[in-house]
Symmetry: C5
C-alpha cells in the first residue's frame, strides 16, 4: 500500500511488462469512463488496485450488490487502465494527477494516455488528438485529428501538464460528444484505440446501448414538446 | 484513550470475542440510529466508549437530564454497536470512516455492517443488501434483496469503501424509508438482524412508535389541507 | 503563560483550594455572562487571567476607558469563574472547549458548571438542570428542574461533552429566557447558585436592571405600534 | 529580516532610544493612516522598514511613480510610526497584531498607541481615549475624552488586546469621523498628539485638504439632489 | 528541479549572462502575455522551463496539438521572459510572486520588469511606467509616462512589492487598454521595450491582428445594435 498524504492507493504492483496507461474519468459525455470500463470488462483485465482520497465525495456505486471503489486500477499484458466513477473537482485535479503519476513512476511506463470528450453536439463523433511533445503526436496522428488550438480542462488537463513537466511521454484523445452519457463517442474512441493498440475490440454493444439511450431521449423530447403545446392549467388560474 | 489528529475516541478496549460491528448514523429516515439505539437499550448492551471530533457541530442531546456524547460505542458478547446522534457532513465522512476503522482494526473483527435508509416512499419497507465482495453477499442474501445497481452516499458509503480497500469483510442494509423519522423502517431492519444474528428482538414497541408518528403526521396533514381551503385574510387585502 | 496552538491563556495559576469552575459565554439572553460578571463584581473576585484566540473576532469592550480582554478568568476561595464577552462561533466551540479544559486540568478541580439560557419566552424564568452523569444530577436536582429531553448547543454543549468524555464532573443550568439581554433570567440563575454554593448574593440590582430594560422595551413596543397605525407617506406616493 | 510564518517584516532595527510606537491602519475616516502619513512626511521621519503578508490583498500604491509597500515602519528620535495603506481583514487582525507586537518586543518600548476613527457624523471631531490599564489613562486624560463604554473593533482592537495580555503599556485615540476620508478628524488627532508629545505639528494643510473634500462632497450632494428632483424618464414608460 | 511547497518550477538554470527578467500574466487586455509570447516567438527565445502549482486551475492550452504548460520560462542572451496563459487568482498572488522571485534569486539578475495593462478605454495606448525606487525610474522615464498616483493590483503588484522589500531593482509598464484582448496595447508596450533593450522587434503583425479583432468587434457591435432595434417578440406577448 502506497500512502501519500491525502490520497491512498491500495494496489498490487504492476507487472514487469512496460505499460501504456490509459485513464478515463467522468467528464463530458462520460466518454473516457464508459470506454475504459467497457474495455476492461470485455477484454477481462485484472483489477489490481484502488484509489481513495479524502477529497472524493462520500459516494459508492454498486454492481449486482457488490460495491465498487470509485477509482480502479486494471492491467493486462502491456496495457494498464485507470478508470473513475466520480468526477474530480477542479480544486483537487492537481493533487490527484500528481498522486497517480507519482505512484505510476515506480514502474516501467511506455506512455500515459487520457481519454475524454469535447462537447460539439455534432452527430459525427470525430476523435481529436493532442500530445505533450511534437514527437508523441506521431503515435496518434494517423488515427485522430490533431487539434490545432483549444484548451483541455479538468483531470485530463492536469495529467497531461504533469506528464509534460516530468518528461513522461503522453497523449490524449478527445471525442466529439454531447452533454449526456454518450456510448457512441466512447465507441469512436475505442475504434482509435483498436488501431493504436491492435485490440480488435467489438464496439457493437456500445452502439446498441447508444441507440437505446438515443431512442429514450427522443421519446422524452417528444413528450416534452407535446407537454409544452398543451395548455397548462396552473398558468391559467382564471379557468381553474 | 486513542487520539488521532482531529478525532478523539475514548473507549475501553473491546473484549476478546471476535465482533460483528454494526454502525448507524442519522440519515434518511434515521433508520440506522433508531434501530441500533433501540437494540442497545432493549438488549442492555454495555456502553464502552465515545467518539468526539472537532468536525462535529457543538450539539449535545439529553436523556433524563444526563447528556449523551454524540457518537457512542457499545458491546455485548459477539456484537459491537456504534451509534450516532448527529449527521456526518459529506466533507468529513472520509476522515470519520478512517478514524473509526483505524480504531477498530486493533481488535479481532469478524465483519462490519452499516445500517441506513433509502428513500422510496413505499409503504412496504423492504430491506436491500450490499457487500464489499461477492463472498460476503452470502451473509445477507437470504434475508434481504440484493441491490442490483445504485449508489450509497454519506458515512455508510465511506465505511464500505474503506472496508473494501483494507480487505475488511463488510456489508450493508438499506431499508426503504421516507423523509422523516421512520421507526417502521428501523423495525424492518431489525427483523433482518434478528435472522442474521438470532437476536429474537421484539419490534412491537418500534411499530407502535411508528403508528404514533404516522397518526400525528396524518392529523397534521389534515390540518394543513383544511387550512389551505380556508380563505386567507392576508391574501385578500381588499376585504381586510 | 500557557500557549496552545491557536488559543492563548495568560493567567496566574489557580490557588490550591479545589475549585468549582463556573462558565458563562454570551448566548440566549446573555444569561451566563450577565450572571457571572455580576457575581465577580459584587463578590469582588480576583481577576487572575485572560484568554485570547486567533478564532475570536477582533473586538474589545471598554469599561470607564479601560479595555477588557474578551474572556477573563477570576477566582475567590473555592470558586473560579470564566466569563466571556464575545459569542463563540459554532466552528470553534470544540477548540475553545478543549483549550479551556486542557488548561484547567492542571489544577485541582471539584467540578465544572456551565450557565446558559434556553429561549421559552415564558415570564416565569424557571431554571433547568443537566449533568454529564446520573451521579452529578444530585448536585442540582433540589434547586433546578431536571431537563428530561432536549439539546444543548454551542460552547456549553462542547464543554459538557468534553467533561463527560474526560470524566470531569460537570453540570449545567439553563434559565428560561428571551431573545434579548435578560438580567431577570440571570437573577434566577444566581438564586440557584446561592443555594448550591451558599453565596447569599443579592439579586435586587439585577431585577431593577431588568425592570429598566423591560420598561424601555415596552415603550419601544408602544412607539412601534403607534408608528404602524400612522399612514406612511412613502407608501402613498400619490398623495406625496 | 525577521520572518514569521505568514508575515514578513523587513526592517532595520529601531535605534536605542526607548520608543512610543504610533500605529494607524485604514478604518473609519482613514483617520489614523492620514494623520500618521502626514506626520512622517512633515516631520521627515526615516523609513526603516516594511511589512508584507500572504494575507494582504495584492495591491500596491504609487507615489510619483515609485511604489509604496502597503505597511511601512518609520522612526525619529523617541517616536516610531507604523502606517498602513490597506485595510486589515477581521479574519487576520489577530495574526497581524501578534506579528507586529512580536517584532516590536525585541526593542526598548515605552508604549504603543493606536489611532483610529469612530463614526458619529458629528461636525465637532472630539477625540476619545482608551487604555489597557487604569494607570495609562493618565497619559491621555487631559487631552482626550475618556470613553466610558463602547467597543473597538478591527486591528486597533487586536493591538490593544494583545498589549494588555502581554503587559505592554498601550492606549488608543478615537476621533469622531464620518464614512469618508476625513482629514479634519486626522487633524483633531494630531492636535492631541501635539500636546502629548510636544510635536508642534501644523495641521493647517490637513484642514485645507478637508475643506476641499467637503466642498467637493457638497457639490456632489447638490447635484444628486437636483437629479433626484428631475423626472426620471425610465420610471415613466407611459410617457416615454 | 526546484520544489517549493505548493509551487513547482522545472527548469534548466539560466545562463551566466546577467538577466533582465520580463514577466507578463493575463490581466487587463492580456497586454503582457500577448506582448511577451509574441516576443519569444519572433526573437526565437529558448524555452528553459515551466512552473506548475496546485493553486492553478486545471486548464491547459494547445498549440498545433502540443500542449503548453501554463507558465513558461524563456531566455536569450541577457533577457529572460516568464509568460503565463492563466490569470493568477488574488488569493495566491503573494505565493506565486514569492515562488518566482525565490527561484530567480539564485541567478545573476540585473532587474525585473512587469508588463501589464491599465484600462482607460482610450484609443491612444500610452504606456505608463513605475519603479520600486526613485533610481530605477531613470531606466524608463524617457520611454514611458511616469504614473504620478494610482494602484497596481494582481500578480504585477505582488512582484513589484516583493522586489522592493528584497531590494531587487524592478520597474513596470502599464499600457492603456480595454476590457478585451488588445494586441495594439501589446504593440505599444513592445515599442517601449524596443527602446529600452534595443530589440528592433517589428510590431506590424500585432497591429494587423489588432485590426482584425477590432473589425470583428465593430461588426458584432453593429449586429447587436440592429438586433436591439428590432421588435422582440418575446417582450410582446399580447401580439404573439
Amino acid at each position: 500500500m502506497i500512502t501519500m498524504e491525502d490520497i491512498k492507493i491500495t494496489s498490487k504492483p504492476m507487472s514487469d511488462t512496460p505499460k501504456s496507461v490509459l485513464m478515463g474519468f467522468p467528464g463530458s459525455g462520460l466518454v473516457g469512463s464508459i470506454a475504459l470500463q467497457y474495455m476492461v470488462d470485455q477484454l477481462e483485465f485484472e483489477q489490481i488496485g484502488n484509489m481513495t482520497s479524502k477529497y472524493f465525495p462520500p459516494l459508492v456505486m454498486m454492481n449486482k450488490g457488490v460495491i465498487n471503489v470509485p477509482v480502479r486500477f486494471y492491467q493486462k499484458d502491456n496495457l494498464a487502465v485507470i478508470v473513475g466513477d466520480i468526477p474530480v473537482h477542479p480544486m483537487i485535479c492537481y493533487e490527484i494527477a500528481n498522486g497517480i503519476i507519482s505512484w505510476l513512476s515506480q514502474f516501467d511506463l511506455k506512455e500515459i494516455a487520457t481519454l475524454a470528450g469535447i462537447v460539439t453536439n455534432e452527430p459525427e463523433k470525430r476523435v481529436f488528438g493532442v500530445a505533450t511533445e511534437q514527437d508523441y503526436l506521431q503515435r496518434i496522428q494517423d488515427h485522430s485529428i490533431i487539434l490545432p488550438v483549444g484548451t483541455i480542462s479538468g483531470i485530463a488537463g492536469s495529467i497531461l501538464t504533469e506528464c509534460k513537466v516530468q518528461g513522461i511521454p503522453a497523449w490524449g484523445l478527445l471525442a466529439e460528444t454531447i452533454n449526456a452519457p454518450d456510448p457512441r463517442a466512447s465507441a469512436a474512441t475505442i475504434e482509435v484505440l483498436n488501431k493504436i493498440f491492435s485490440l480488435n475490440l467489438d464496439v457493437k454493444p456500445l452502439l446498441e446501448q447508444a441507440e437505446e439511450i438515443e431512442a429514450a431521449m427522443h421519446k422524452l423530447s417528444e413528450e416534452v414538446q407535446s407537454a409544452e403545446k398543451a395548455p397548462k392549467k396552473e398558468q391559467l388560474p382564471m379557468y381553474g
